[in-house]
């Protein structure tokens, strides 16, 4: 029996918004590539913004497929992969497995903020840390994904990962060959804007948070308009704690379960104000300590138990 939120095609009717976002994004990219009159500031800025939303949709879609049909979900992942020039399936190990546990078999999350903000490695001007973050988190993530791909027992994963890479890079390569400069400025630039932007979100959402805490591991951005556009991705604490929830209910569940439990400073009303305060006008101060010592604390209890 169909649930009330279902449609004939989608698991949840609210996902029409996500399909609409991607359709619009692909339309803008096609328009800029094919129609010279569309190669303007407005369309380019819109494409960059939609590219970031494309990465948000990747995140949501890889948590729970949007469509009821496997083939459609697979095709949608290929389109999403082209949208950000990285294989969408990479989100499975990088986000669903590692990031949601803040742990990679005992080692840090591949996109842990401390890789750029730790003492001894960071820039004092925090904006530079934000700009630099994808330079570290990106390669670490794809190295980790490659390693995970070799040990996963999800047999379909490697095939899907390779297919999405071939589609994304193949189509982008074809566009570059046909019209290099147009593809560079109006396809590649938006693609990479969104891909690097979604990596930066990790820093924005977790910098100076305590990932060992049950409630204070994430920063939330609770503006209503912001979350309407971002498909409620501003509500990050509840998303970590209950990853199976559909994005459309995150606002309500954040109010029910998180407000009152999380530190008040982790509910930011405005991302723009936060970015200005913490990054544009934010400067870090450090002690004169060198890089952290080698020792990383107690042995894992699981090892003792296993031995």
């Amino acid at each position: 029996m169909a649930r009330p939120e279902e449609t004939w095609l989608l698991h949840h009717r609210a996902d029409r918004r996500q399909v609409g976002i991607i359709t619009l994004y692909m339309g803008v990219l096609a328009a800029m590539y094919l129609v010279p009159a569309c190669r303007n500031v407005f369309c380019l800025a819109l494409a960059c913004y939609l590219s970031f939303l494309n990465a948000v949709v990747i995140h949501n879609h890889l948590h729970k497929g949007i469509f009821k049909y496997k083939a459609l979900n697979r095709a949608f992942r290929a389109v999403l992969s082209f949208g950000n020039l990285y294989p969408a399936s990479a989100n499975i190990p990088s986000h669903n497995v590692v990031h949601h546990h803040f742990n990679d078999d005992g080692r840090p999350d591949w996109a842990d903020p401390r890789f750029v903000t730790g003492e001894g490695v960071a820039f004092r001007w925090n904006l530079l840390n934000l700009i630099h973050f994808p330079n570290v988190a990106g390669p670490q993530t794809f190295h980790g994904v490659s390693r995970w791909a070799r040990v996963t027992r999800q047999r379909d994963f490697r095939r899907e990962y390779i297919f999405e890479q071939m589609f994304a890079f193949g189509l982008t390569g074809l566009l570059l060959v046909v019209d290099f400069w147009t593809a560079l400025f109006f396809i590649l630039v938006p693609q990479l804007w969104g891909a690097r932007g979604i990596l930066r979100i990790n820093l924005i959402q977790h910098d100076r948070c305590d990932t060992r805490s049950e409630w204070n591991h994430s920063r939330n951005f609770v503006g209503a308009f912001f979350n309407w556009v971002m498909c409620n991705n501003g509500y990050h604490t509840i998303h970590h704690n209950r990853a199976g929830l559909h994005w459309s209910v995150l606002a309500e569940m954040h109010r029910k379960e998180c407000v009152g439990r999380i530190a008040p400073g982790l509910d930011e009303p405005s991302m723009v104000k936060y970015l200005l305060r913490e990054f544009v006008f934010g400067f870090r101060t450090f002690s004169t300590a060198e890089e952290p010592r080698a020792e990383r604390g107690e042995l894992a209890e699981s090892v003792d138990a296993a031995e």
């Binding site: 078999d105 330079n135 070799r150 400025f185």
Partner: protein, 265 residues
């Protein structure tokens, strides 16, 4: 400016070139900063003393030990059975003992956990049955194990103290620091040269002509490549205590008369 007016490609070219320059500069700056840090580490080791371990008070007479907690996972790709290990955590301990500094005499080292060990790379010995390890590595939990790397009697060591921390190395730390600083310098200089070359090509007249297009294509490749290269250089130049031991364990090959077990093709 009219947001609906067509964007001149020249402006976009300058903008994308600017992004490339800024991004490369950040990566190079971080690498140069790391080189500077290694210089400080080198200065610390300048006070080192070279000695030979006479005896230790640890198990089996060892002087010190680095114990690494590892998690092994079975490879599921084609090929022979292999378990790949990652380091989950590490701890080091000096058990105390005596080291001989030749004509300068012996020196007693106190037992302490506040120790930094610089150990030569070693292939960990696995004292489990491969079949047992493989079975556990093939599960979601993986195969958890401990690996010990010991400093045994007779080992040549370099020792110094830094703000209360005992530092022991089994290879010349100054040579190591110098080599890593050279690698970082090479990376920085090489990156800047590549950036200059790519920029010169991309800006060569006629702009947007064949040579300029080649320069831009190389610029895209350079932008994508320098990021993993920067991370690889960082990992290569990590201080030895921070370097991962890792390792891969392949199923031992039986004698020629027996067929190998569990081969995956």
């Amino acid at each position: 400016m009219n947001p609906l007016a067509s964007l001149p490609y020249e402006w976009l070219g300058v903008l994308t070139l600017g992004v490339l320059v800024v991004n490369t500069s950040l990566i190079v700056f971080v690498a140069w900063k790391r080189r500077h840090f290694l210089g400080e580490v080198r200065r610390r080791w300048a006070k080192r003393e070279q000695a030979t371990v006479q005896h230790g008070l640890g198990p089996g007479g060892i002087l010190a030990q680095r114990r690494i907690s590892q998690l092994g996972r079975a490879l599921t790709v084609r090929g022979p059975d292999r378990i790949v290990f990652t380091d989950a955590s590490t701890e080091s301990e000096c058990f105390g003992g005596a080291i001989s500094r030749g004509a300068s005499g012996a020196l007693t080292l106190e037992a302490t956990r506040d120790v930094e060990l610089w150990l030569a790379e070693a292939t960990p010995e696995r004292d489990h049955s491969f079949d047992d390890a493989w079975a556990r590595a093939s599960t979601n939990k993986g195969f958890a194990t401990l690996v010990d790397i010991d400093i045994e009697p007779g080992t040549q060591v370099w020792v110094c103290h830094e703000q209360g921390t005992l530092c022991i190395a089994t290879f010349d730390p100054l040579e190591y620091c110098d080599r890593m600083r050279r690698v970082l310098a090479l990376f920085c200089v090489g990156s800047v040269l590549c950036l200059v070359l790519v920029t010169a090509l991309a800006c060569s007249p006629p702009v947007f002509g064949p040579l300029s297009t080649l320069g831009a294509a190389l610029g895209v490749a350079f932008f994508l490549a320098i990021q993993p290269l920067g991370v690889a250089v960082r990992d290569y130049t990590l201080l030895p205590p921070m370097r991962e031991v890792g390792g891969t364990w392949a199923r031992p090959v039986k004698a020629a008369s027996s067929a190998p077990e569990h081969a995956i093709f």
